[in-house]
Symmetry: C2
Subunit: 187 residues, 2 copies
Amino acid sequence: MKAVQITQWCARFITEQVQPGDICIDATMGNGNDTLLLCSLCQETGHVYAFDIQEQALAHTRQKLQNADVPTNYTLLLESHANMDHYVQPDSVSCIVFNLGYLPGGDHTKATLASSSIEALTKSLSLLKKGGLISLCIYSGGDSGFEERDAVLSWLKNLDSHKYLVIRSDYYNRPNNPPIPVLIIRQ
Amino acid sequence: MKAVQITQWCARFITEQVQPGDICIDATMGNGNDTLLLCSLCQETGHVYAFDIQEQALAHTRQKLQNADVPTNYTLLLESHANMDHYVQPDSVSCIVFNLGYLPGGDHTKATLASSSIEALTKSLSLLKKGGLISLCIYSGGDSGFEERDAVLSWLKNLDSHKYLVIRSDYYNRPNNPPIPVLIIRQ
């Protein structure tokens, strides 16, 4: 088995999940890597709604999608992910991707925050269809601190185990607070 | 994504790892489910060494393998897994499977113990080839208590991150001390 980087770890589950025709959400567009992956997986019959509150994220992502050979199956929104329920129907989404922390290479003061992240995650649950997947990667330490991480982990721990399966994975022997990938599966 | 049971979670990584011709070890034969999986994956050109210290485990496993349509590519050993280095060469093994705790349906007083488990895990590391995988599932609570779990987790935490990648996964919102699946990849 090749040593699996954390972004590859998340991508493998997203890739297994998303089928042509699926509706997907990139809740934290950032530099658009996950938006691109989702667009290529759900193909021209699917659709990706991607959210960010920074213009820079939309510009980078738009450029990335135009350079890649993906269909125009996306909507890029300069909008808080806490409003994702304005754009898609309940029980309809196959896959929602969150990367919590700050935009890599961007403004570290514009990190996601515990309160709005948990609000968005709560809405995400209602949008997921049965068998749907949330891929959540929690970045912490450095400028981000640990408040958001701890609040989100506490929220995850208390999700109803009859409705959702939460699998938290830790890069357990790696120093310096590596990101924590989490899968939430609606049962 | 279907709700993934913990045994299925382990099996998916074992299945990805093992190729025809590989040498594999089932360090805790138990009822032989993993021995059977390994035998079917490494095929007639590979070989599986399976260890248990209980006669009952060998009898159940032998029956299971004979009932299934797998080649006779296995050696079942009534022997402590701490002696696995007597049977295979260093740097040669593709996949080693451990289930720590007691034999399901067997004698709960004959659980694995922290000291011999860590001895066997340490030897396992030296037997793994580059890119090799240890799939380790830690059962705790009930008659097993938590001493072995805590000792093994501490050992894992301190493995050299330049040589080994340790990915610990937790069924995070499930009550009653669910088993903890761990992947150790030799880099």
